[in-house]
Each structure stands twice: as C-alpha cells, then as structure tokens.
Symmetry: C2
Subunit: 307 residues, 2 copies
DNA sequence: CCTCGCTCATAAGACCAGCTTATGCCCTCA
DNA sequence: TGAGGGCATAAGCTGGTCTTATGAGCGAGG
C-alpha cells in the first residue's frame, strides 16, 4: 500500500510534505550550532527528540540533511539548501507572528498603530519585526481600516500613529511620505497581453473589463482617478486576496498594488503588463494629529519606515 | 549569539505561537470558499475537524478570524489580514517543497538542472513553482555546486541545463544572461555606516575589515576582482547564511548578494550602504553544452527565467 | 593507557492533540 | 413546512512525539 501512497503525492497537501515549523526551527538551530544536542537544548527538547525529528525530516524529504559524527553534526550540501529554504518559511512565520501579536494586543499597548489595509498587510509585519529587534519591550497594537477610519482613530486619541495610502491627506492630520506604491496591470502568464510588445495605452486599459476591488477601496479610487472614472469591472471582489486569486486563475486582467503581487510576479503566477500615459503611483504616508509630532515608540517606528 | 536567545524566558518558540501549515492552508481555503464545510472537504478532513481547527487557531491568536453564520463563514477584518500573512507563509512553504522535491528526485527526472549555490538557494524554487504551474507533469531534479561543478555535470551529460553566477563562462558551454545580481555592502542598522550621508569609496571599503565568505567562493571572487584583490577579511565564514547571521548580529559590515539579503533589508535587520566607484554587478547565466540548444522542458524552464 | 566528556542512536512507555462518527440546532429557500 | 446546507458539541480512538534510560564511538588529557 505504501507504494500506492507515493502516487497520491500530488493531492497530499503541503503540510504533509513540508516539515512543521518546530522542525524547521530545529534545523536552523542545528545549522547554527553544529550539534543536534546543542540545538535540542536551545529549542527546549531533549537530544533524542531532536535526533528523531531531524531523522524523520530526512525521511520525509528523501534527502540526507546532516552529516552526523561523534563530534558534531554538519549540514550536507543539500542540507544547506534546505536550511536556506527553511529560513524563508520561518521568516514568513515570524512576520505572521508579529502581525498577529499586534492584532491581539488591541487594548493596553504602548504604541497603537492604525493602518490602511494594504500597508497593514504587506509592510507592517516587517516594520514590527524591525521595531521588535530595536526595542524588544515595545508592545504594539494594530487597527486596520480605510483612510477615513485611520483619521478618526487618530483624532479620537485611539491611535498614536497612522499609515495611509491614497491621493490626499485627511484633514486635521500632519503627514510625511514614507514610500511610494504603484498600481500595476497584471494577468496570468497565459493571457494575450502577456505577449504584447508595446505598452498598453490608457484607452485600451479603460476599455477592457478588469478584475477589481469594490468601489470605495483605495486601490479602486486611484485607478478611477487615473483613468477619469472609467474603469470597467469584469468582476468586483471585496478583498485584494480574492482579486489576486481570480487573476492568477486566468479570469482576466487586473490592476493591483505592486506590494500585493510581489510574490506572484517573482513566482510567475502573474506577469506585469507595461502601461503608458497612465499615472498609477500613489504615496504611502505616515500620519498623526496636527501638531502632535510623534515621540517615543511612535517616533522609533517612523524612523524605521523611511528606508 | 543572537540576542533573541537571551530572552527565551516566556517567549515560546514560533511554532507555539504560529498555527501549523495545515491550519493556515485551511484558513486560506475558508477565505476562498466562504464556508468551513467546503474548506474541510477541499483539504480532506471533516467539517467538525475544520471547525475545531479554526477555533483553536482563534484561541491561539486571540483574535476572531471568521464570522460564522448559518449560511456560511466570512472573514473578519482581522481575519483578512491574518489570511494574507498566512498566505506568505504558505507560499514560502510551497517554495520549500518545490526545492526539496527537486533535490530528492535526483535520479530519473526528465529535467536535470545544475545550479550554483546562490541561484539554487534564492531563485530556483520560484522557477520550479512556475514550471510546475505551466507543466505540472515535469519532474525536475537539482544538483548544486560551484561553476566548475556545473560545467562538469553538463559536459558529462549528467545535467541538461545549468545556471551559474560569475565573471566568465566555463569553456565548452554556451550561455545566455538571464538576470543580474549585485553585491551590496550591508551592516546592522546600528553600525556607524548606516548613518553616512555620502556613498562609500572603494579605498574605504578595501581598507575596512569585512565579514566575508571564504576565498574561492563566487561572491568573494567578484569582490576581490572589483577591489583589485584587496578585500580584508574580519571573519571568514563558509556559508552565506553564517555571514548573514554574523552581519545581523552587528559583528561588522559585510558584502553579500542582494538576492541573499532581500528579506533582511525589508525587515531592517540589515541596511544597505551605497558605494561608489566599485562595480559589484555580476551576470547570472543559463548555460548548456556548446551546440546543444535547450529543448523540451529545459527550454520551458529557460523561458520562465527571463522575466 | 585509561577515563572523562562530548557526540549520536535506540528502546520502551506515557501523553496529548486532533481526527472521525454521531448527533442536534439554526437558518433559508422552495 | 420540509429539505438542505451551515455550524457546534460530545465521545472515543489513533498516532505521533515527547521523555527517560541506556549504549556506543571518538578525542583530549592526566
């Protein structure tokens, strides 16, 4: 039966083929410390547990990862590669954790951040990790919403620092531009546009039905403004995620923040279509109540975002 | 040691705070399908199992993720954010899986790829995912080594397509440049260089002891060539990973491929120091035995890498 | 030369997390 | 008003993973 099982590999989910996070962290510890036992101590398990965990990982992957010797363990070549790929997974998990933590500690945190969706999704976890590295004892809480909501939270004193993307700064707030974002036209690699030689024109873009966020979203506002209110929806979806999934599946072209599609582009699940004559840049701004310059942890976070 | 180690007191490891991959995949399925039951069917478990898994995830994170109603489940605002962060983790896991799979199927694969370490670590998993999307039935195997090893594998017929980074093309091979890589100078954010106004000059770089890979590595070769063989090592380490860890911990400045430090830069664990008068670009090339133009799956993979 | 100290491996048993099956309630739609 | 889809709860089982206890290889130092 177990040979038949091999055929089902396609259907088995990732979770069955990828070691769990604890195992990946253990592998990183082994790589760094050069010994199973030392790695075991670091992650708080016994040496036999570590030995068995690494061994079952090697079985699962079908590759020898470490060279064990009576005076330590070193990574094999394959192990070095696997460790590096594992590090990416662990880093993504650390970002997840930083975000989730901020989301949970809604109440009594020292630094309460309000951010628009795109920024909260794609940039904030990284900033939080950096902040944690610089000031480990700063507890951050996160509230997400659109620009109006961010302004409201700041003005009512429920948030200390805000981040918005969009064309204008809400009244009553001071701001500084911390980065730029560009909306880009994307399609699945199979779409005819993916093979175009010449950039897309504004009229052609406006004339083509697109997969879009709903009216009122920041992304949609910028696009409508750039095209003069003309964007034709093929489908309207209520989350960036849903829009991406739809575009990846080949339903049609879409316009999305470049922040949102970085991974998809680098993995070639989506391709970017050059556009001319359309300005799809927008500013990302940090904002705070007029006159109340950020201080303390807010200032610290702000300084981290200006890279 | 990393300072993270010091504060292990109540900071349980990531694995205890981040749901496992199966749970994250389930969450993605719920987001996509709008129902716990449907998501459960998709990932091959029963509805109560899914319900309980999501619930324990909400407990673990301390945040409500889905609004359950008698006619389905929708993500809460926080749930939408968490789902997006979860997607990053799952994508990293997918890249891990693609790489590991290629590493395992060393033998009878239809496409045998030989790649230098940097490319194998940072670029290949993404390409493999893209290839898998385009040609799901292509089995790929991966052999990693330095340029000479790649050339040897190609010439002896043990590999169909190779990827190398470096200054020259091994003899006997044809090549095409598929991308460029740049070596960049990085330090921990606390280093004095991080606050420089003016770019670093070549002499200053050559005069400063750096954290480096060992002599003979591709990275080191390029740096030595650019500086005229003058690079002064502060520490010499045998893996990119070790160099990065050392730089992050603040041991000193280092010179690394921008491919290797993307995450560190975006998370601000490292900062990039501008340099002038030094050419640290290098070509990344696909290579194959002279005369034998890639065909079939090799050609397919090649076309994916030229984005 | 022997013993200590480090390494890793193996075996046996305990434990706990998560699954399945079996139900029940709620809501909507025909 | 009954059918169907949606979610929650309860009880029991299974399996993986941990721990403790032990053995064996290798190197350094008295």
């Amino acid at each position: 039966m177990s040979e038949v099982e091999g055929q089902r590999e396609h259907t088995a989910s990732l979770a069955h083929r990828v070691p769990d996070l604890a195992a990946l962290e253990l592998l990183l510890a082994v790589a760094r410390l050069g010994s199973l036992g030392a790695a075991a101590r670091e992650v708080g398990i016994t040496q036999p547990a570590a030995s068995s965990r690494i061994r079952s990982m090697e079985r699962q992957l079908g590759v020898a990862l470490v060279d064990r010797s009576p005076r330590g363990s070193r990574l094999t070549d394959a192990g070095a590669l696997v460790t590096d790929w594992a590090r990416r997974v662990v880093e993504a998990a650390a970002a997840f954790d930083a975000g989730a933590r901020a989301l949970r500690d809604r109440r009594d945190s020292r630094l309460r951040v309000a951010a628009s969706m795109t920024i909260a999704e794609y940039l904030l976890p990284g900033w939080l990790l950096a902040l944690h590295a610089a000031r480990p004892d700063t507890a951050v809480s996160l509230l997400a919403g659109n620009s109006a909501k961010v302004a409201e939270l700041l003005l009512s004193g429920e948030a200390d620092l805000g981040f918005v993307e969009g064309l204008s700064v809400p009244t009553g707030l001071d701001s500084v531009v911390i980065a730029h974002d560009r909306l880009i036209v994307v399609t699945a690699p199979g779409h005819p546009w993916a093979r175009r030689r010449r950039p897309l024109g504004a009229e052609e873009l406006a004339a083509t039905p697109l997969i879009l966020r709903e009216r009122g979203s920041g992304t949609r506002q910028v696009l409508d403004a750039a095209l003069g209110g003309l964007a034709r929806p093929l489908i309207e979806l209520s989350s960036t995620t849903a829009v991406k999934a739809s575009a990846v599946s080949g339903a049609g072209p879409s316009v999305l923040s470049e922040l949102a599609v970085g991974e998809e582009l680098s993995m070639r699940r989506l391709v970017s279509i050059p556009v001319e004559d359309v300005s799809l840049r927008r500013d990302l701004r940090a904002v705070w109540p007029k006159g109340h310059r950020p201080t303390g942890p807010a200032r610290e976070l702000l300084s981290l975002t200006r890279g």
